[in-house]
């Protein structure tokens, strides 16, 4: 397919056989795909040229469509990130910080609860991703955080 490869969660995926693709509402990503099993309507949203979010039967699936060159570049970058020092922990959901159980300098072990975020209805624990030392705490109780807000760093 013109040198593109599809990956989901980093794993190469063989695209379904499809004979036709058309946009029904391009601005909002509604598209129609004809496969051997029939026509499907999907939502296909671009996040830059190689990153796509495809909603199939209600499930939103992140798909990378990359050329060989793009893949090599991305892997090099990812590899560089993995070897970098501190881990930054970010909020995975929007909510209110209700408790912070660590401070700069705390020794923490993998899985230890560090911060409690209250989303609309629930108390959710943010846990240490690995053993280490907290180098910086970036939020405090009472603060509202969005998805992706940096919470703290573990060295």
């Amino acid at each position: 397919m013109r040198g593109f490869e599809a990956r989901i969660g980093g794993v190469p995926v063989e695209p379904a056989v499809a004979s036709h693709f058309e946009w029904i509402d391009r601005a909002r990503g509604i598209a129609r795909l004809r496969t051997a099993e029939g026509d499907l309507e999907l939502v296909v949203e671009g996040r830059g040229p190689s990153e796509w979010l495809v909603t199939v039967a209600g499930r939103r699936i992140a798909v990378s469509i990359q050329t060989w060159r793009e893949r090599m570049l991305a892997e090099a970058e990812g590899s560089a990130r993995a070897h970098a020092g501190p881990v930054e922990i970010r909020a995975t959901l929007p909510g209110l910080v209700v408790a912070v159980g660590a401070e700069a300098g705390s020794e923490v072990s993998e899985g230890q609860p560090l911060i409690t975020i209250e989303a609309m209805k629930m108390q959710n624990e943010v846990r240490a991703p690995r053993d280490g030392t907290v180098t910086e705490v970036l939020v405090e109780p009472g603060q509202t955080v969005a998805t992706g807000t940096p919470l703290l760093r573990v060295g």
Binding site: V54, V56, K121, M122
Partner: protein
């Protein structure tokens, strides 16, 4: 309080202008009822909602504060100011937010405005779930075995009589907040701590009590409607057993688990509980029903419920219109007090949340938004295409409600409606509902409150068929963006013939 009508006459609107003290789909629902009754509606909005659908649909609107709920939709002074400024004669609180807040009801009454709900004193009495439990016991209604007093020092109480697993519940609770399951006596102290914190945060009151966990159980509730003249009618029951984190996701009426004898017993208990308080409004009495068909009172809410639509479809009674009319003193007529239920209705709640990740709420921006229509389908939506979802609020996007002649037809209709639904921009629970409607437990009606936990979990791993379709679509989309791409045939035509149709099988 100015009661404008004291008869069942329907000449002229019951009020001239109503402030709708809520947002999202329920504000839209109340605004529609106002419009049909010839009443001017006044929407309120925080800065996050200035262009929201409910604001655009109302006749007028009033800003009430910044996005934070505490400073806007939960701010009694801001709402009373807005009601006064707009000249509203009545306030409809919707559900959630201040709908069961006695102080709000009192403030509205004191401002000389009609509160579309019960007297403040009733809200105060029912707001304490523990007090409500004691009243139910006094009225001869069975309650879930457990404490009738707050749980303060777990070490000082013998919980073996309650039994394990047990549920800790906030006395001021509701909507699944402040609840914790405890499996062993030694876990009580830690769970109590968390439950208290959640309760204080959500309700400003850390009182917690303990009940036995009824499991397997069905969550069945009875819909009541009362007027200011002592009339009280049961508009049937609803089954709300499909729950995640003790919150309802799917509701239906009639309940597949309720026999005529059980229905009589539930209605009798509901009337007894309702008799303990003074109310003139829509109200719901909630019960658990165990595997043996015994029922236990849980709580009573004297407000509209999210799931009122299924009752409306089956009874043909417009509950919001009647809520407004009875608030104006109008008497319930025989068409309402002698309902003739017809068919079966099911509601699924479309939430911006990730069912593949613990039903975690998500915010963002809805892009594509295609709702089903056609026979027997009702959509009550709070958003449309291209709508921002502020992170501060409940992630309910819309309710998709179907009605058909019997339960099998309703399930088939629901499947059809879900097939037609497309939502982009955010992950929703649509995939869960598509899964649910094909489960044998749901198709047969034999499910209980444990269904999601035991059968869904975080959903199945992504199937190869769906992954392949997603990959093909993304690849075609990328190729459609390339210079010189042709519209239409954007993927290689390796097979243009139509095989035996297996589309649903392929992607479910």
């Amino acid at each position: 309080m100015s009661v404008r009508k004291d008869s069942s006459s329907r000449d002229g609107p019951p009020f001239g202008r109503i402030l709708v003290a809520n947002r999202g789909e329920i504000a839209v629902r109340v605004i529609r009822a106002c419009r049909e009754l010839g009443i001017e509606s006044v929407a309120v909005y925080s800065d996050a909602d200035a262009s929201a659908l409910h604001v655009r649909m109302a006749d007028r609107s009033e800003r009430i504060g910044p996005p934070s709920p505490a400073e806007s939709y939960l701010s009694i002074p801001a709402l009373i100011d807005a009601a006064r400024r707009s000249g509203a004669e009545a306030v409809h609180p919707g559900y959630g937010f201040l709908s069961e807040n006695a102080a709000f009801a009192r403030a509205v009454e004191e401002a000389g405005i009609v509160f579309i709900g019960p007297p403040a004193a009733t809200l105060a009495a029912l707001g304490d779930k523990l007090e409500a439990r004691r009243s139910a016991v006094a009225a001869g209604v069975p309650v879930v075995p457990g404490l009738l007093v707050p749980l303060e020092d777990p070490a000082a109480v013998d919980l073996s009589e309650v039994g394990f697993p047990a549920m800790l519940k906030a006395a001021a609770g509701g909507g699944g907040r402040g609840m914790r399951r405890v499996d062993r006596a030694e876990d009580v102290a830690a769970a109590l701590e968390t439950a208290r914190r959640e309760a204080i945060s959500a309700f400003g009151d850390g009182t917690v009590y303990v009940e036995r966990l009824v499991s397997p159980a069905r969550h069945v509730e009875v819909q009541l409607l009362g007027d200011r003249h002592g009339t009280l009618v049961c508009l049937g029951e609803r089954d709300c057993s499909v729950q995640r984190r003790n919150q309802k996701l799917v509701e239906e009426t009639p309940s597949p688990a309720v026999t005529p004898a059980l229905r009589e017993a539930l209605f009798d208990s509901a009337r007894r509980v309702a008799g303990t308080v003074d109310f003139h409004n829509a109200a719901t009495v909630e019960f658990l029903v165990d595997a043996g068909g015994s029922h236990y009172f849980l709580e009573m809410n004297t407000r509209l419920q999210v799931e009122h639509g299924v009752t409306e479809l089956v009874t043909g009674i417009d509950m919001v219109a009647w809520q407004i009319r009875v608030a104006a003193g109008i008497r319930l007529p025989r068409a309402v007090t002698e309902p003739e239920p017809r068919g079966h209705a099911i509601e699924v709640r479309l939430y911006a949340e990730d069912p593949y990740d613990g039903f975690r709420p998500v915010s963002g921006r809805v892009g594509a938004w295609r709702m089903p229509d056609g026979p027997g389908v009702r959509v009550d939506a709070g958003v449309e295409a291209d709508t921002d979802l502020p992170p501060q609020y409940d992630p309910l996007l819309a309710k998709l409600i179907v009605h058909a002649a019997d339960r099998d037809a309703a399930v088939a209709r629901l499947r059809r409606a879900l097939d037609e639904t497309l939502i982009g921009g955010v992950q929703t629970d649509l995939g869960f509902h598509r899964w649910l409607v094909d489960q044998p437990e749901f198709a047969s009606g034999h499910y209980d409150t444990g269904l999601i936990g035991s059968r869904w979990g975080d959903g199945a791993a992504l199937e190869d068929a769906a992954a392949g379709i997603a990959a093909a679509a993304a690849m075609a989309a990328r190729r459609s963006s390339l210079p010189g791409a042709m519209p239409g045939l954007l993927v290689e035509s390796t097979d243009s013939g139509w095989g035996r149709l297996a589309r649903r099988e392929a992607i479910r």
